[in-house]
């Protein structure tokens, strides 16, 4: 592939896809071990009402208000789920189901009620994202990476996603020990003085930030898939948390690259004219990786008894 074609058209979507996938997969490891894997699912559903409300307030289709709205919606959802779970003594799965379907329904209704026909705001966009369109038109080839003028016109999603990834990395890196201890043994962590409730909430908030930033670029399908599939596949490969996190990052990167390439060039190989959804393809590839790991992974079977037995 030639640089003059690859750099402007494919480099930025690929990088954004990779950053988004890794930023979601990292906290996903802990959510998976905490039996909170579906938090990612809930968060990505409530992003829609968040951006619709943000649009109604500001009248803008701009990244920041939408991201703030989405983040606020994610927080509201998490708090509501906890409230319903505790106050109504409802099991977490059902509480989650009540909250995210209702908020999603509210989002769809608001969207139908407001005139957004003039702007690019619709349900499909929220679901699929639009990774393919995040191109870097000012680039002419690899040399553009050194061209300050061209760099200034990078799609804003790239620095935003990279920035988010750095934030997620910092959080996981700094709080690695308490995260691991409280995920394994919450009562013990409390006796060490770890504020486990706060830490659990922080993990969810960081996940929400990653989800919202990723959603803006790539849609919510990737978000749900990346929260769960790479960590789940990594779980089958190793019996150490460090190893699991590294494997999940590798799986996330492979999904992003293969998914993007397959979506863009796969149809051409079989003679079709148009590309298919990159977001959907990335999720599909991550599922294939999970299937392979589930059948052949060296550590695919349970080793110890679960809690409460």
């Amino acid at each position: 592939m030639m640089g003059e074609e690859f750099v402007p058209l494919s480099l930025t979507p690929l990088l954004i896809g990779i950053c988004a996938a890794v930023a979601c997969a990292l906290p996903g490891n802990f959510l998976l071990l905490r039996r909170q894997a579906l938090i990612g699912d809930a968060i990505s559903h409530v992003v829609l009402p968040g951006i619709v409300v943000a649009f109604l307030f500001t009248g803008l289709i701009a990244a920041w208000p939408m991201m703030l709205g989405a983040a606020a919606a994610a927080l509201v959802a998490v708090v509501l789920i906890e409230l319903i779970r505790r106050l109504g003594r409802i099991e977490p799965g059902a509480a989650m189901g009540v909250v995210f379907t209702t908020m999603f329904a509210g989002g769809v209704l608001l969207l139908e009620q407001t005139d957004t026909s003039s702007v690019h705001l619709d349900v499909e966009h929220a679901l699929y994202g639009n990774l393919e369109s995040l191109i870097w038109l000012d680039a002419v080839g690899w040399q553009s990476l050194l061209d300050v003028d061209a760099l200034r016109h990078l799609p804003p999603e790239l620095p935003r996603m990279a920035f988010t990834l750095v934030g997620v990395l910092l959080f996981i890196g700094v709080f690695w020990r308490p995260l691991m201890i409280s995920t394994f043994d919450e009562s013990f962590a409390r006796t060490l003085g770890v504020r486990t409730t706060m830490l659990g909430l922080a993990l969810v908030v960081v996940s929400a930030i990653a989800a919202v930033a990723a959603f803006d670029a790539v849609g919510s399908i990737i978000v749900i898939a990346m929260f769960i599939c790479p960590p789940a596949a990594a779980r089958m490969m190793t019996n150490r948390l460090e190893g699991q996190v590294l494997w999940s990052v590798a799986f996330a990167i492979v999904s992003a690259i293969f998914g993007y390439v397959l979506a863009g060039y796969g149809p051409l190989w079989v003679g079709a004219a148009d590309a298919v959804s990159a977001a959907g393809m990335i999720a599909t590839v991550s599922g294939v990786l999970l299937a392979i790991a589930a059948v052949f992974g060296p550590c695919r079977h349970r080793a110890g008894s679960p809690a409460g037995v």
Partner: protein, 401 residues
């Protein structure tokens, strides 16, 4: 307009859809209750998202054979097949790998949905005309629905409900007490499969009305709502059916009464309104009742603890206890017990002695199990029994400071 809709005066199609939605809502509520009681509510989320690739593939196949591609029955069969595959993957992952069910649900949900979107974009790129109908499966759309489609939905809703009614006995048994059920000779795994088949049926029939993202709300919200109103599990099933039917009927009618009111979201929001009312105001399990009970309970505990401490001359450290004792006129501002305080404290301590005897007496074992520090002994023993205990304690003694 709304009244017309509620009274089924908006034309054959709208009325048929409303009836179908109501039947569907009832089936979903009841089926969902079985899932909810087995703590597998979100399995329905995986099943519903897993229908998408089936819809797309069915469309492609029908087009490839020169058909219209929008034949509702064909699309629904496709969705059922792929939902079945999704369910099989989910079960395989939880059974054969170390993944917990929630992770397996998330994996199936996201991967099948992602693959479905890929197929939708394939269909778009093929440029086959009139594919727009497929997007309706995401969020549901009853606007401009054909008479035939409406009939299929009504019939599907009725059929599911019929199966549930026929099978309600064994299903209820399995949901509430699988061990007893299998002792009675009912195959738990077969009933489980039937439940999942019903979930799939509800999902598939509901696709066109509420869409695959929101159908899970119909399966989850009514059972949770019903749970607030009763502790009796057979009644939960009935209430959930009623809540589901009510929400679906009102939602369908509302949506037919004005433009820009998509059926699926409206039904979900009506359902949530019923839930929110129950969460707040239900007797016993409702939040308001629980908060009031907790405050009362906390005060009871503190007061009782305070009285016992007074009687035994122990130090009271808790500010709330001191405040409550003062407010009830049991303790003076300077920390000295009032006359009533002394009397009530002596009574509390005496009751504790009585309870100690009850615990030591094997013939009163059932009564002893009721002890929780708060229960008045007069409520569990007869006067004669209490007199008997008092004889064993001996004459009332002064409690030494």
């Amino acid at each position: 307009m709304l009244l017309d809709a509620l009274l089924l005066q908006l034309g054959y199609n709208a009325s048929l859809v409303a009836i179908g939605a109501t039947l569907l809502g009832a089936s979903a509520g009841i089926t969902g209750t079985f899932l909810f009681l087995r703590k597998r509510a979100l399995v329905s989320d995986a099943i519903s998202h897993a229908t998408l690739p089936g819809v797309g593939v069915a469309f492609l196949i029908m087009v490839a054979f020169g058909g219209d591609g929008r034949n509702l029955i064909g699309l629904l069969i496709g969705s059922a097949v792929s939902a079945g595959i999704g369910l099989w993957c989910l079960n395989w992952l939880t059974r054969n790998t170390r993944l917990a069910e929630d992770a397996a649900i998330g994996a199936v949900l996201s991967v099948f949905f992602g693959f479905g979107v890929v197929i939708l974009t394939v269909i778009q790129s093929l440029g086959v005309g009139r594919q727009a109908g497929l997007e309706g499966f995401l969020l549901g759309s009853t606007a401009g629905m054909l008479w035939n489609d409406a009939l299929i939905i009504a019939a599907g809703g009725a059929a599911t409900l019929l199966v549930i009614l026929l099978m309600r006995r064994p299903m209820t048994l399995v949901a509430f007490d699988p061990e007893y059920a299998s002792a009675r000779g009912i195959s738990v795994s077969q009933i489980d499969m039937l439940m999942m088949a019903l979930v799939m049926a509800v999902t598939v029939v509901g696709l066109k009305v509420v869409g695959l993202i929101l159908i899970v709300a119909l399966l989850i919200i009514p059972p949770v709502t019903a749970r607030f109103w009763t502790e009796r599990s057979d009644l939960v099933v009935v209430f959930a059916g009623i809540a589901g039917a009510l929400a679906a009927f009102i939602g369908a009618a509302l949506s037919a009464s004005a433009p820009n009111l998509p059926t699926g979201p409206i039904i979900v929001l009506v359902s949530f309104a019923l839930f929110a009312l129950s969460l707040l105001f239900a007797p016993n399990r409702g939040v308001l009742a629980a908060v009031m009970r907790h405050v009362r309970f906390q005060r009871q505990v503190h007061l009782r603890q305070g009285l016992l401490a007074l009687a035994q001359g122990q130090v009271i450290y808790e500010p709330l206890t001191l405040r409550l004792l003062r407010r009830h006129g049991l303790l003076r501002a300077d920390g000295v017990a009032t006359e009533t305080g002394v009397a009530r404290a002596a009574k509390a301590l005496r009751d504790e002695h009585r309870w100690a005897l009850v615990r030591a007496d094997q013939s009163l074992e059932a009564t002893a199990a009721l002890y929780d520090g708060l229960r008045e002994i007069e409520t569990v023993l007869t006067d004669d029994q209490i007199r008997d205990l008092d004889r064993r304690i001996g004459t009332p003694r002064e409690v030494l400071a």
